[in-house]
């Protein structure tokens, strides 16, 4: 496609503005994490590493990171197992109510978090009589983490078709052997992509978390929300934010590389 010179100039300008809107605020957070001002005054009056040192000594922040990691890893693990099983069930077998189940599985990601949160809160506390804890939080997160795994895996299964599984079975492999040696290796990158998304969803989730975490469970988003408006903690929050940005670049980088590598193979 060919564009005229002014059109190209205009598109470049729009692109620059949009990218600036996304990344300048992040840059401000980055700069403020080294600012000597506690009130986030702009421009920063001076440079200091004090907040970085404080952040790494702050038990609350470190505990919150650890809790979030635990929750995200556990709910991703649950989602990987259940999401794969349900994709196989829905894609490889025909039965009554298949489409309905497919819809019910995807629905949680479209439901407003506040609804899921209230519903699960009620179900756990009054329905089941369970104390809210890190376990209820993991279950709550898994309800929407399953969706990303399910979507990735079912799309892959659909594209793969059944001929490789037929061939494996034809050559004498039982169901489990076929899954281990043929189906799973073909699903690996879909599971990785779905798992990364699930992890990311869980890691920064705050609405459902508010309703389903026990009072002693403090995930990172909850901790940030608690501390953002405390004058002494604001710069520390900035440090944590910068660390999170750096950390989230890594999975995105890998996800992109996997997607790129698959295009080459095909």
């Amino acid at each position: 496609m060919r564009l005229s010179r002014p059109a190209r100039g205009l598109l470049a300008a729009i692109t620059a503005v949009v990218l600036a809107l996304i990344y300048l605020p992040l840059l401000v957070v980055f700069v403020n994490s080294f600012s000597t001002s506690q009130n986030l005054t702009w421009p920063p009056p001076g440079f200091t590493l004090e907040w970085w040192a404080k952040a790494f000594q702050s038990d609350g922040a470190l505990d919150a990171v650890l809790t979030s990691l635990q929750v995200a890893l556990a709910s991703t693990a649950v989602a990987l197992v259940l999401g794969t099983l349900i994709s196989l069930g829905l894609q490889r077998f025909e039965f009554f109510g298949r489409d309905a189940i497919s819809l019910l599985v995807i629905l949680p990601i479209a439901l407003p978090g506040i609804v899921t949160g209230i519903a699960l809160n009620n179900a756990f506390r009054t329905g089941l009589g369970v104390q809210l804890s890190i376990l209820t939080l993991i279950i709550a997160h898994a309800t929407f983490c399953i969706v990303t795994v399910f979507n990735n895996v079912i799309a892959r299964l659909r594209r793969l078709g059944t001929s490789l599984e037929d061939a494996s079975s034809d050559l004498g492999a039982g169901i489990w052997t076929t899954f281990r040696l043929v189906t799973f290796p073909q699903l690996r990158s879909a599971l990785f992509a779905g798992g990364l998304l699930a992890f990311a969803l869980s890691f920064d989730e705050i609405i459902v978390t508010t309703f389903t975490a026990g009072s002693s469970v403090k995930t990172l988003p909850l901790w940030i929300l608690d501390n953002l408006f405390r004058p002494h903690q604001a710069p520390v929050v900035n440090v944590i934010a910068v660390v999170l940005v750096l950390v989230s670049i890594i999975p995105i980088y890998f996800a992109q590389r996997i997607a790129g590598a698959e295009k080459v193979v095909r």
Binding site: S163, L164, D166, A167, S169, L171, G172, A173, Q186
Partner: protein, 348 residues
């Protein structure tokens, strides 16, 4: 003992998808060690029969026996048959060697032994030097041979081939036909070959079943199928046929019923020349098509039908003028095949 036990016996085999009968009451014995082809247009049920024998589909009714044992309810991995798939279905994440060794691996053969056997199988299909490649690095013909090696290394009783040459270009296909035939002789196992290519079926097979609408239309040797087609469908599907319906038959042959005659059995000469044939008919040459070793002539008969004549391009070829010339065609009664009995007019 009731004579020779068939390798595969299908009894009343039926497979319905909803209201569609993909396979409709097929009875068939396939003899041990024969090269058997199932020939038919797409949707005729031949591939479904193959998938039923392999166990990928469950029949709606009927039974499948393998060497006298009822295997109807057995899973694919529990049947001593192997399949060469139309799209080859090689495992993309495994090397060629691991693909071929797969059947041995799942049977618990140790790595060393299975790799050795797989290498031998690859050597027999002349792909020994490709063992470490991935399937994606091979050409279509090479993938085809890997699929063959993978299916035969486990020494099945019966090898099922689902249009295995369909994706190859003509030259390669002809070469693979020869290789398949040789492989079948060497291994001495039963081959069941599904194809829509009548030439391929005629060339390769000991026997052919012609499928149409889920039923076997005719079963016989290639010569029987070609020279004595049992129905208008077979006559039209296998090779080219001049088919005369009831009315035309009465005019041209002096008998009722549907008949056919192969183009190469029809002789032709310019009008007023003698023609040694049991019956002759006059017409106008509508088209002359040169096809290399022979020439195809299309003649519009005065009787109101069109016949195709195939003449060898040899020294004795009768010179015919171009399009529009008056010609005489002729054939011998022995070359006429009756496809259907006379149409019965209902009595009042």
């Amino acid at each position: 003992m009731t004579g020779v036990q068939p390798a595969i016996r299908l009894t009343g085999l039926t497979k319905s998808f909803g209201s569609v009968h993909a396979v409709d009451g097929v009875d068939l014995d396939i003899i041990e060690g024969e090269f058997f082809s199932m020939l038919g247009p797409s949707g005729s049920g031949k591939t479904t029969v193959l998938r039923l024998i392999a166990g990928f589909e469950q029949p709606t009714s009927g039974t499948i026996s393998l060497l006298g044992q009822d295997v109807t309810d057995r899973a694919p991995f529990d049947r001593d048959v192997n399949t060469v798939f139309q799209d080859y279905a090689l495992f993309p994440h495994m090397s060629v060697l691991d693909n071929v060794a797969y059947g041995l691996r799942v049977r618990g053969v140790a790595k060393r032994a299975r790799h050795e056997q797989a290498r031998q199988a690859l050597d027999t299909v002349r792909l020994g030097s490709f063992a470490d490649r991935k399937p994606s690095q091979l050409s279509g013909g090479q993938r085809q041979r890997v699929a063959l090696a993978r299916a035969t290394v486990v020494q099945p009783k019966v090898l099922l081939l689902d249009e295995p040459l369909g994706a190859l270009d003509l030259k390669l296909r002809e070469q693979m036909q020869v290789e398949l035939k040789e492989l079948q002789r060497t291994l001495g196992i039963t081959f069941i070959f599904v194809t829509h290519d009548q030439q391929e079926a005629l060339t390769l097979s000991d026997r052919i079943a012609v499928f149409n609408e889920g039923k076997i239309e005719q079963l016989g040797t290639p010569a029987e199928i070609y020279e004595r087609p049992a129905s208008p469908f077979v006559a039209a599907f296998v090779g080219t046929s001049n088919i005369f319906d009831d009315t035309v038959s009465q005019t041209l042959l002096g008998r009722a019923g549907t008949h056919s005659v192969r183009p190469e059995k029809v002789s032709v000469t310019t009008e007023n020349r003698p023609l040694s044939a049991d019956r002759t008919a006059a017409g106008v040459l509508a088209e002359v098509i040169y096809v290399g070793s022979s020439t195809q002539l299309i003649v519009d008969l005065d009787a109101g039908t069109r016949v195709v004549v195939l003449e060898q391009n040899d020294a004795h070829r009768v010179a015919t003028n171009g399009r529009g010339a008056r010609v005489t065609v002729g054939w011998n009664d022995s070359d006429i095949v009756t496809l259907a009995p006379p149409v019965l007019t209902s009595h009042p």
